[in-house]
Amino acid sequence: MALEAPGQRILLPVNVGFMVLTVLLALGFDLLPWPALKGVPDMLALVICFWCIREPRKMGIGIPFLLGLVMDAANGVLMGQHALAYSVLAFLAISVSRRVLWFGLLAQSLQVLAILLTAQLVTLLVRMLVGGPFPGWNYFLGCFVGAALWPLLSVILLAPQRRPASVDETRPI
Protein backbone atom coordinates (compact mmCIF):
# COMPACT_ATOMS: atom_id res chain seq x y z
CA MET A 1 0.00 0.00 0.00
CA ALA A 2 1.29 3.40 -0.93
CA LEU A 3 0.16 4.93 2.32
CA GLU A 4 2.45 4.51 5.27
CA ALA A 5 1.10 2.63 8.26
CA PRO A 6 -1.22 4.80 10.31
CA GLY A 7 0.15 6.14 13.53
CA GLN A 8 3.63 6.61 12.17
CA ARG A 9 3.15 9.97 10.64
CA ILE A 10 2.46 12.99 12.77
CA LEU A 11 -0.75 14.54 11.49
CA LEU A 12 -1.79 18.16 11.78
CA PRO A 13 -4.47 18.87 14.37
CA VAL A 14 -7.92 18.42 12.97
CA ASN A 15 -9.88 21.43 11.78
CA VAL A 16 -13.26 21.47 13.52
CA GLY A 17 -14.80 23.35 10.60
CA PHE A 18 -13.78 20.48 8.33
CA MET A 19 -15.41 17.99 10.70
CA VAL A 20 -18.65 19.97 10.62
CA LEU A 21 -18.49 20.21 6.84
CA THR A 22 -18.02 16.46 6.37
CA VAL A 23 -20.85 15.67 8.76
CA LEU A 24 -23.16 18.06 6.89
CA LEU A 25 -22.15 16.57 3.53
CA ALA A 26 -22.84 13.07 4.84
CA LEU A 27 -26.23 14.21 6.13
CA GLY A 28 -26.99 15.67 2.71
CA PHE A 29 -25.94 12.41 1.08
CA ASP A 30 -28.37 10.48 3.26
CA LEU A 31 -31.20 12.84 2.42
CA LEU A 32 -30.85 12.46 -1.35
CA PRO A 33 -33.80 10.88 -3.17
CA TRP A 34 -32.40 7.37 -3.59
CA PRO A 35 -34.62 5.39 -5.94
CA ALA A 36 -33.92 2.05 -4.23
CA LEU A 37 -32.29 1.90 -0.86
CA LYS A 38 -30.80 -1.55 -1.27
CA GLY A 39 -27.09 -1.24 -0.65
CA VAL A 40 -26.93 2.53 -0.27
CA PRO A 41 -24.60 3.03 2.69
CA ASP A 42 -25.56 5.23 5.59
CA MET A 43 -22.83 7.78 4.98
CA LEU A 44 -23.62 9.72 8.13
CA ALA A 45 -23.05 6.63 10.27
CA LEU A 46 -19.77 6.05 8.51
CA VAL A 47 -18.56 9.62 9.03
CA ILE A 48 -19.63 9.56 12.68
CA CYS A 49 -17.73 6.31 13.08
CA PHE A 50 -14.67 7.84 11.46
CA TRP A 51 -14.55 10.93 13.64
CA CYS A 52 -15.31 8.92 16.78
CA ILE A 53 -12.31 6.73 16.05
CA ARG A 54 -10.04 9.61 15.03
CA GLU A 55 -11.21 12.32 17.43
CA PRO A 56 -13.10 10.61 20.25
CA ARG A 57 -12.96 13.67 22.46
CA LYS A 58 -14.20 16.13 19.86
CA MET A 59 -17.03 13.96 18.54
CA GLY A 60 -18.27 12.38 21.76
CA ILE A 61 -21.65 10.69 21.97
CA GLY A 62 -23.90 13.72 22.29
CA ILE A 63 -23.37 14.96 18.72
CA PRO A 64 -24.20 11.56 17.17
CA PHE A 65 -27.30 11.47 19.35
CA LEU A 66 -28.44 14.87 18.02
CA LEU A 67 -27.63 13.86 14.44
CA GLY A 68 -29.73 10.75 14.97
CA LEU A 69 -32.65 12.93 16.05
CA VAL A 70 -32.21 14.95 12.86
CA MET A 71 -32.33 11.76 10.78
CA ASP A 72 -35.45 10.62 12.63
CA ALA A 73 -37.24 13.89 12.00
CA ALA A 74 -36.17 14.08 8.37
CA ASN A 75 -37.20 10.51 7.61
CA GLY A 76 -40.42 10.64 9.56
CA VAL A 77 -39.63 7.53 11.56
CA LEU A 78 -40.01 6.90 15.27
CA MET A 79 -38.28 9.72 17.17
CA GLY A 80 -35.16 8.37 18.87
CA GLN A 81 -34.59 5.34 16.69
CA HIS A 82 -31.57 6.64 14.79
CA ALA A 83 -30.52 8.56 17.90
CA LEU A 84 -30.18 5.31 19.82
CA ALA A 85 -28.42 3.58 16.94
CA TYR A 86 -25.93 6.43 16.46
CA SER A 87 -25.25 6.70 20.21
CA VAL A 88 -24.43 3.00 20.34
CA LEU A 89 -22.35 3.35 17.17
CA ALA A 90 -20.40 6.26 18.65
CA PHE A 91 -19.84 4.41 21.90
CA LEU A 92 -18.51 1.32 20.12
CA ALA A 93 -16.30 3.44 17.88
CA ILE A 94 -14.91 5.40 20.83
CA SER A 95 -14.21 2.27 22.84
CA VAL A 96 -12.23 0.66 20.01
CA SER A 97 -10.63 3.90 18.88
CA ARG A 98 -7.27 3.23 20.56
CA ARG A 99 -6.96 -0.20 19.02
CA VAL A 100 -8.35 0.15 15.51
CA LEU A 101 -5.77 2.63 14.25
CA TRP A 102 -2.94 0.14 14.74
CA PHE A 103 -4.34 -2.02 11.98
CA GLY A 104 -4.05 -1.48 8.25
CA LEU A 105 -6.92 0.11 6.37
CA LEU A 106 -8.44 -3.22 5.26
CA ALA A 107 -8.38 -4.70 8.75
CA GLN A 108 -9.87 -1.45 10.00
CA SER A 109 -12.79 -1.76 7.61
CA LEU A 110 -13.59 -5.23 9.00
CA GLN A 111 -13.86 -3.79 12.50
CA VAL A 112 -15.91 -0.89 11.20
CA LEU A 113 -18.19 -3.42 9.52
CA ALA A 114 -18.88 -5.02 12.91
CA ILE A 115 -19.69 -1.61 14.41
CA LEU A 116 -22.01 -0.63 11.54
CA LEU A 117 -23.79 -3.99 11.68
CA THR A 118 -24.37 -3.61 15.41
CA ALA A 119 -25.87 -0.15 14.94
CA GLN A 120 -28.09 -1.44 12.13
CA LEU A 121 -29.16 -4.33 14.34
CA VAL A 122 -30.19 -1.88 17.06
CA THR A 123 -32.47 -0.10 14.57
CA LEU A 124 -33.85 -3.42 13.41
CA LEU A 125 -34.62 -4.53 16.96
CA VAL A 126 -36.37 -1.26 17.75
CA ARG A 127 -38.51 -1.52 14.63
CA MET A 128 -39.41 -5.17 15.23
CA LEU A 129 -40.36 -4.31 18.83
CA VAL A 130 -42.66 -1.56 17.60
CA GLY A 131 -44.21 -4.06 15.23
CA GLY A 132 -42.55 -3.59 11.88
CA PRO A 133 -42.07 -6.46 9.45
CA PHE A 134 -38.65 -8.01 8.83
CA PRO A 135 -37.28 -6.04 5.86
CA GLY A 136 -35.14 -8.85 4.46
CA TRP A 137 -31.41 -9.46 4.58
CA ASN A 138 -30.84 -6.71 2.03
CA TYR A 139 -31.29 -4.39 4.97
CA PHE A 140 -27.71 -5.10 6.05
CA LEU A 141 -26.25 -4.67 2.58
CA GLY A 142 -25.61 -0.97 3.14
CA CYS A 143 -23.27 -1.79 6.05
CA PHE A 144 -21.07 -3.92 3.82
CA VAL A 145 -20.91 -1.21 1.18
CA GLY A 146 -20.15 1.32 3.89
CA ALA A 147 -17.32 -0.80 5.30
CA ALA A 148 -15.93 -1.26 1.80
CA LEU A 149 -15.85 2.53 1.43
CA TRP A 150 -13.92 2.92 4.68
CA PRO A 151 -10.35 2.97 3.22
CA LEU A 152 -11.36 5.56 0.63
CA LEU A 153 -13.15 7.65 3.24
CA SER A 154 -10.13 7.49 5.57
CA VAL A 155 -7.83 8.79 2.88
CA ILE A 156 -10.21 11.61 1.91
CA LEU A 157 -11.08 12.74 5.43
CA LEU A 158 -7.46 12.66 6.57
CA ALA A 159 -6.13 14.54 3.55
CA PRO A 160 -6.31 18.01 5.18
CA GLN A 161 -4.30 16.74 8.15
CA ARG A 162 -1.62 15.26 5.93
CA ARG A 163 -0.60 18.60 4.49
CA PRO A 164 2.90 19.69 5.47
CA ALA A 165 2.96 22.09 8.38
CA SER A 166 5.17 24.59 6.62
CA VAL A 167 3.81 25.44 3.21
CA ASP A 168 6.30 24.81 0.45
CA GLU A 169 5.69 27.20 -2.41
CA THR A 170 7.19 24.85 -5.01
CA ARG A 171 4.84 21.97 -4.17
CA PRO A 172 1.53 21.87 -6.04
CA ILE A 173 -0.47 20.64 -3.04
Binding site: L24, L27, G28, F29, D30, L31, L32, P33, W34, P35, A36, L37, D42, P56, R57, G60, I61, G62, F65, G68, L69, V70, M71, D72, A73, A74, N75, G76, V77, L78, M79, G80, Q81, A83, L84, S87, V88, A90, F91, I94, S95, V126, R127, V130, G132, P133, P135, G136, N138, Y139
Partner: protein, 308 residues
Protein backbone atom coordinates in the same frame (compact mmCIF):
# COMPACT_ATOMS: atom_id res chain seq x y z
CA UNK B 1 -12.43 13.98 46.68
CA UNK B 2 -8.77 13.16 47.30
CA UNK B 3 -8.89 10.30 44.83
CA UNK B 4 -10.40 12.25 41.95
CA UNK B 5 -7.93 12.98 39.12
CA UNK B 6 -6.36 16.39 38.85
CA UNK B 7 -8.50 18.73 36.75
CA UNK B 8 -6.25 18.76 33.69
CA UNK B 9 -6.87 15.03 33.18
CA UNK B 10 -10.57 15.33 33.77
CA UNK B 11 -12.43 13.96 30.77
CA UNK B 12 -15.94 14.16 32.09
CA UNK B 13 -18.14 11.09 32.49
CA UNK B 14 -16.88 7.79 31.06
CA UNK B 15 -18.23 6.75 27.63
CA UNK B 16 -20.26 3.96 29.23
CA UNK B 17 -22.02 6.46 31.44
CA UNK B 18 -22.64 8.78 28.53
CA UNK B 19 -23.97 6.09 26.20
CA UNK B 20 -26.28 4.83 28.95
CA UNK B 21 -27.60 8.34 29.44
CA UNK B 22 -28.23 8.89 25.73
CA UNK B 23 -29.74 5.43 25.31
CA UNK B 24 -32.18 6.14 28.12
CA UNK B 25 -33.07 9.49 26.56
CA UNK B 26 -33.64 7.83 23.15
CA UNK B 27 -35.79 5.10 24.63
CA UNK B 28 -37.79 7.73 26.49
CA UNK B 29 -38.24 9.65 23.22
CA UNK B 30 -39.30 6.52 21.34
CA UNK B 31 -41.85 5.53 23.95
CA UNK B 32 -43.24 9.07 24.09
CA UNK B 33 -43.42 9.23 20.32
CA UNK B 34 -44.97 5.82 19.82
CA UNK B 35 -47.52 6.06 22.61
CA UNK B 36 -48.46 9.69 23.00
CA UNK B 37 -47.29 11.46 19.82
CA UNK B 38 -45.87 14.36 21.83
CA UNK B 39 -42.89 14.72 19.54
CA UNK B 40 -44.58 16.50 16.61
CA UNK B 41 -43.42 20.03 17.56
CA UNK B 42 -39.83 18.83 18.01
CA UNK B 43 -40.05 16.98 14.71
CA UNK B 44 -41.38 20.07 12.95
CA UNK B 45 -38.68 22.27 14.41
CA UNK B 46 -35.89 19.89 13.38
CA UNK B 47 -37.33 19.40 9.92
CA UNK B 48 -37.49 23.16 9.37
CA UNK B 49 -33.87 23.54 10.46
CA UNK B 50 -32.70 20.69 8.22
CA UNK B 51 -34.60 22.00 5.19
CA UNK B 52 -31.65 24.09 3.86
CA UNK B 53 -29.36 21.05 4.08
CA UNK B 54 -31.87 19.02 2.11
CA UNK B 55 -32.24 21.67 -0.55
CA UNK B 56 -28.48 22.06 -0.84
CA UNK B 57 -28.08 18.30 -1.18
CA UNK B 58 -30.73 18.23 -3.87
CA UNK B 59 -29.25 21.12 -5.86
CA UNK B 60 -26.62 19.06 -7.74
CA UNK B 61 -29.20 16.39 -8.54
CA UNK B 62 -31.60 18.97 -9.90
CA UNK B 63 -28.86 20.69 -11.86
CA UNK B 64 -27.88 17.33 -13.34
CA UNK B 65 -31.47 16.71 -14.34
CA UNK B 66 -31.68 20.12 -15.97
CA UNK B 67 -28.49 19.58 -17.93
CA UNK B 68 -29.84 16.20 -19.02
CA UNK B 69 -33.05 17.87 -20.19
CA UNK B 70 -31.07 20.44 -22.12
CA UNK B 71 -29.15 17.83 -24.05
CA UNK B 72 -32.20 15.71 -24.77
CA UNK B 73 -32.17 15.33 -28.50
CA UNK B 74 -34.51 17.33 -30.66
CA UNK B 75 -35.72 14.12 -32.27
CA UNK B 76 -37.09 12.95 -28.95
CA UNK B 77 -38.86 16.24 -28.44
CA UNK B 78 -40.34 16.21 -31.93
CA UNK B 79 -41.57 12.68 -31.46
CA UNK B 80 -43.10 13.57 -28.12
CA UNK B 81 -44.67 16.65 -29.71
CA UNK B 82 -46.29 14.55 -32.41
CA UNK B 83 -47.58 12.08 -29.90
CA UNK B 84 -49.00 14.89 -27.81
CA UNK B 85 -50.66 16.46 -30.84
CA UNK B 86 -52.25 13.16 -31.79
CA UNK B 87 -53.38 12.65 -28.24
CA UNK B 88 -54.79 16.16 -28.13
CA UNK B 89 -56.81 15.55 -31.29
CA UNK B 90 -58.15 12.38 -29.80
CA UNK B 91 -59.06 14.13 -26.58
CA UNK B 92 -60.52 17.17 -28.31
CA UNK B 93 -63.66 15.34 -29.22
CA UNK B 94 -64.22 14.27 -25.62
CA UNK B 95 -63.32 17.71 -24.31
CA UNK B 96 -65.85 19.40 -26.57
CA UNK B 97 -68.62 17.33 -25.15
CA UNK B 98 -67.28 17.54 -21.61
CA UNK B 99 -68.64 21.00 -20.84
CA UNK B 100 -72.08 20.04 -21.98
CA UNK B 101 -71.92 16.83 -20.02
CA UNK B 102 -70.72 18.59 -16.91
CA UNK B 103 -73.59 21.06 -17.05
CA UNK B 104 -76.02 18.25 -17.60
CA UNK B 105 -74.50 16.28 -14.76
CA UNK B 106 -74.77 19.22 -12.37
CA UNK B 107 -78.39 19.65 -13.31
CA UNK B 108 -79.18 15.97 -12.88
CA UNK B 109 -77.36 15.78 -9.58
CA UNK B 110 -79.24 18.83 -8.42
CA UNK B 111 -82.42 17.09 -9.41
CA UNK B 112 -81.38 13.99 -7.50
CA UNK B 113 -80.41 16.16 -4.54
CA UNK B 114 -77.10 14.37 -4.55
CA UNK B 115 -73.94 15.76 -3.14
CA UNK B 116 -72.11 17.78 -5.73
CA UNK B 117 -68.92 16.31 -6.85
CA UNK B 118 -66.45 19.01 -5.88
CA UNK B 119 -63.91 19.89 -8.50
CA UNK B 120 -60.81 19.34 -6.46
CA UNK B 121 -58.02 21.87 -6.48
CA UNK B 122 -54.51 20.61 -6.69
CA UNK B 123 -51.12 21.65 -5.42
CA UNK B 124 -48.14 20.79 -7.56
CA UNK B 125 -45.30 19.23 -5.57
CA UNK B 126 -42.05 17.41 -6.10
CA UNK B 127 -40.76 14.39 -4.25
CA UNK B 128 -37.63 15.49 -2.39
CA UNK B 129 -36.49 12.13 -1.16
CA UNK B 130 -37.81 8.78 -0.12
CA UNK B 131 -37.82 8.02 3.58
CA UNK B 132 -34.62 6.14 4.42
CA UNK B 133 -36.59 3.48 6.17
CA UNK B 134 -37.24 0.10 4.62
CA UNK B 135 -39.98 -0.59 7.13
CA UNK B 136 -42.36 2.06 5.91
CA UNK B 137 -43.03 3.25 2.41
CA UNK B 138 -43.14 7.01 2.57
CA UNK B 139 -41.83 9.89 0.48
CA UNK B 140 -41.19 13.49 1.47
CA UNK B 141 -42.58 16.20 -0.82
CA UNK B 142 -41.49 19.82 -0.95
CA UNK B 143 -44.78 21.48 0.02
CA UNK B 144 -46.00 21.97 3.57
CA UNK B 145 -48.45 23.92 5.69
CA UNK B 146 -47.15 27.22 4.30
CA UNK B 147 -48.38 26.11 0.86
CA UNK B 148 -51.69 24.92 2.25
CA UNK B 149 -51.11 21.19 2.45
CA UNK B 150 -53.18 19.54 5.16
CA UNK B 151 -53.15 16.05 6.54
CA UNK B 152 -55.20 13.49 4.67
CA UNK B 153 -54.88 14.96 1.18
CA UNK B 154 -54.63 12.38 -1.59
CA UNK B 155 -51.55 12.52 -3.81
CA UNK B 156 -51.53 11.42 -7.45
CA UNK B 157 -49.12 11.35 -10.34
CA UNK B 158 -49.69 10.84 -14.04
CA UNK B 159 -50.36 7.13 -13.56
CA UNK B 160 -52.80 7.29 -10.70
CA UNK B 161 -53.04 7.42 -6.93
CA UNK B 162 -49.71 7.18 -5.16
CA UNK B 163 -50.73 7.87 -1.57
CA UNK B 164 -51.92 10.23 1.07
CA UNK B 165 -50.38 13.04 3.12
CA UNK B 166 -49.90 11.73 6.63
CA UNK B 167 -47.72 14.30 8.32
CA UNK B 168 -47.35 17.98 7.50
CA UNK B 169 -44.54 20.24 8.49
CA UNK B 170 -44.05 23.92 7.69
CA UNK B 171 -42.07 23.38 4.48
CA UNK B 172 -42.29 19.69 3.68
CA UNK B 173 -44.79 16.94 4.19
CA UNK B 174 -44.74 13.21 4.33
CA UNK B 175 -46.76 11.06 1.95
CA UNK B 176 -47.57 7.48 2.85
CA UNK B 177 -47.63 5.46 -0.34
CA UNK B 178 -50.50 3.14 -1.19
CA UNK B 179 -48.05 0.26 -0.94
CA UNK B 180 -47.37 1.02 2.75
CA UNK B 181 -48.19 -1.87 5.04
CA UNK B 182 -50.92 -0.11 6.99
CA UNK B 183 -52.41 1.88 4.13
CA UNK B 184 -55.74 1.05 2.57
CA UNK B 185 -57.75 2.61 -0.25
CA UNK B 186 -61.42 1.94 -0.95
CA UNK B 187 -61.58 0.86 -4.57
CA UNK B 188 -63.88 -0.38 -7.23
CA UNK B 189 -63.41 -2.70 -10.19
CA UNK B 190 -64.12 -0.70 -13.33
CA UNK B 191 -65.54 -3.64 -15.29
CA UNK B 192 -68.39 -4.50 -12.93
CA UNK B 193 -68.38 -1.91 -10.16
CA UNK B 194 -67.40 -4.42 -7.46
CA UNK B 195 -66.29 -2.53 -4.36
CA UNK B 196 -63.29 -3.62 -2.33
CA UNK B 197 -60.48 -2.24 -0.21
CA UNK B 198 -56.89 -2.31 -1.45
CA UNK B 199 -54.29 -2.83 1.27
CA UNK B 200 -50.60 -2.13 0.91
CA UNK B 201 -48.27 -5.03 1.53
CA UNK B 202 -45.12 -3.12 2.39
CA UNK B 203 -43.21 -3.93 -0.78
CA UNK B 204 -42.93 -1.70 -3.81
CA UNK B 205 -44.85 -3.62 -6.42
CA UNK B 206 -48.06 -4.92 -4.99
CA UNK B 207 -51.24 -4.28 -3.08
CA UNK B 208 -53.91 -6.75 -2.09
CA UNK B 209 -57.70 -6.71 -2.29
CA UNK B 210 -58.72 -8.37 0.95
CA UNK B 211 -61.95 -9.95 2.12
CA UNK B 212 -63.25 -10.79 -1.35
CA UNK B 213 -65.15 -14.10 -1.49
CA UNK B 214 -63.68 -16.95 -3.51
CA UNK B 215 -66.20 -16.46 -6.31
CA UNK B 216 -65.73 -12.69 -6.53
CA UNK B 217 -65.89 -11.56 -10.16
CA UNK B 218 -62.31 -10.34 -10.42
CA UNK B 219 -59.99 -11.33 -13.23
CA UNK B 220 -56.32 -10.56 -13.85
CA UNK B 221 -56.10 -7.42 -15.93
CA UNK B 222 -59.10 -5.70 -14.34
CA UNK B 223 -58.68 -1.98 -13.82
CA UNK B 224 -59.05 -0.82 -10.23
CA UNK B 225 -60.10 2.78 -9.46
CA UNK B 226 -60.91 4.64 -6.26
CA UNK B 227 -64.56 4.36 -5.27
CA UNK B 228 -64.62 7.60 -3.31
CA UNK B 229 -66.82 6.25 -0.55
CA UNK B 230 -64.29 7.27 2.08
CA UNK B 231 -64.79 10.91 1.19
CA UNK B 232 -61.04 11.31 0.94
CA UNK B 233 -59.96 10.05 -2.45
CA UNK B 234 -61.97 11.52 -5.30
CA UNK B 235 -63.81 8.71 -7.12
CA UNK B 236 -62.49 7.31 -10.38
CA UNK B 237 -58.74 7.76 -9.96
CA UNK B 238 -56.79 4.76 -11.24
CA UNK B 239 -55.21 2.75 -8.45
CA UNK B 240 -53.90 -0.31 -10.26
CA UNK B 241 -54.46 -3.38 -12.28
CA UNK B 242 -55.22 -6.85 -10.97
CA UNK B 243 -52.05 -8.87 -11.42
CA UNK B 244 -52.98 -12.25 -9.99
CA UNK B 245 -56.00 -13.98 -8.48
CA UNK B 246 -55.52 -17.08 -6.35
CA UNK B 247 -58.68 -18.96 -5.49
CA UNK B 248 -57.78 -21.76 -3.14
CA UNK B 249 -60.71 -23.60 -1.70
CA UNK B 250 -58.88 -24.03 1.58
CA UNK B 251 -58.93 -20.27 2.13
CA UNK B 252 -61.97 -18.24 3.08
CA UNK B 253 -61.13 -15.35 0.80
CA UNK B 254 -59.61 -15.03 -2.62
CA UNK B 255 -56.08 -13.65 -2.77
CA UNK B 256 -56.11 -10.79 -5.25
CA UNK B 257 -52.85 -9.00 -5.95
CA UNK B 258 -52.92 -5.57 -7.57
CA UNK B 259 -50.04 -3.82 -9.30
CA UNK B 260 -50.22 -0.09 -8.46
CA UNK B 261 -50.83 2.24 -11.40
CA UNK B 262 -49.12 5.29 -9.92
CA UNK B 263 -45.37 5.26 -10.14
CA UNK B 264 -44.76 4.77 -6.44
CA UNK B 265 -41.05 4.61 -7.10
CA UNK B 266 -40.36 6.34 -10.38
CA UNK B 267 -41.65 9.86 -10.78
CA UNK B 268 -40.72 13.04 -9.00
CA UNK B 269 -43.65 15.32 -9.86
CA UNK B 270 -46.90 14.76 -8.03
CA UNK B 271 -50.22 16.55 -7.48
CA UNK B 272 -51.65 16.99 -4.00
CA UNK B 273 -55.44 16.99 -4.30
CA UNK B 274 -57.92 18.49 -1.91
CA UNK B 275 -59.99 15.81 -0.23
CA UNK B 276 -63.54 15.60 -1.49
CA UNK B 277 -65.06 15.70 1.96
CA UNK B 278 -63.89 16.29 5.47
CA UNK B 279 -61.17 13.90 6.61
CA UNK B 280 -62.46 11.53 9.25
CA UNK B 281 -60.78 11.83 12.66
CA UNK B 282 -57.69 9.68 13.05
CA UNK B 283 -58.30 6.52 15.03
CA UNK B 284 -56.76 6.53 18.53
CA UNK B 285 -53.26 5.14 18.69
CA UNK B 286 -53.94 2.79 21.58
CA UNK B 287 -57.29 1.46 22.66
CA UNK B 288 -58.15 3.06 25.93
CA UNK B 289 -59.39 0.78 28.68
CA UNK B 290 -63.19 0.79 28.84
CA UNK B 291 -64.49 3.17 31.47
CA UNK B 292 -65.23 1.12 34.55
CA UNK B 293 -66.28 3.96 36.81
CA UNK B 294 -69.43 4.58 34.78
CA UNK B 295 -71.90 2.81 37.09
CA UNK B 296 -70.56 4.62 40.15
CA UNK B 297 -71.04 8.02 38.50
CA UNK B 298 -74.53 7.11 37.39
CA UNK B 299 -75.37 6.05 40.90
CA UNK B 300 -73.97 9.26 42.32
CA UNK B 301 -75.95 11.30 39.82
CA UNK B 302 -79.07 9.39 40.71
CA UNK B 303 -78.40 9.99 44.38
CA UNK B 304 -77.89 13.68 43.72
CA UNK B 305 -81.07 13.79 41.72
CA UNK B 306 -82.88 12.05 44.56
CA UNK B 307 -81.52 14.58 47.03
CA UNK B 308 -82.37 17.53 44.78
Amino acid sequence: MEHSPPPFFNRGPAPVVRVTFFAIVSIFLMVTDARFRYMEPLRQAISTVVYPVQRTALAPVEAGGRIGDYFQSIADLQQENEQLRAGKLKDAQDLLTLDALRAENTQLRGLLDARQRAKSEAIFAEIMYAGRDPFSRTVIIDKGTTQGVVRGQPVIDTGGVIGQVTRVQPLVSEVTLVTHKNHSVPVQVVRNGLRAVAFGLGDAESMELRFLPLNAPVEPGDEIVTSGIDGLYPPGLPVGKVARVDRESTQTFAKVLVAPAGGTGQYRQVLVLRPVGEAPPAPPVMEEPPPKKEPAKVKRQKLRQGQG
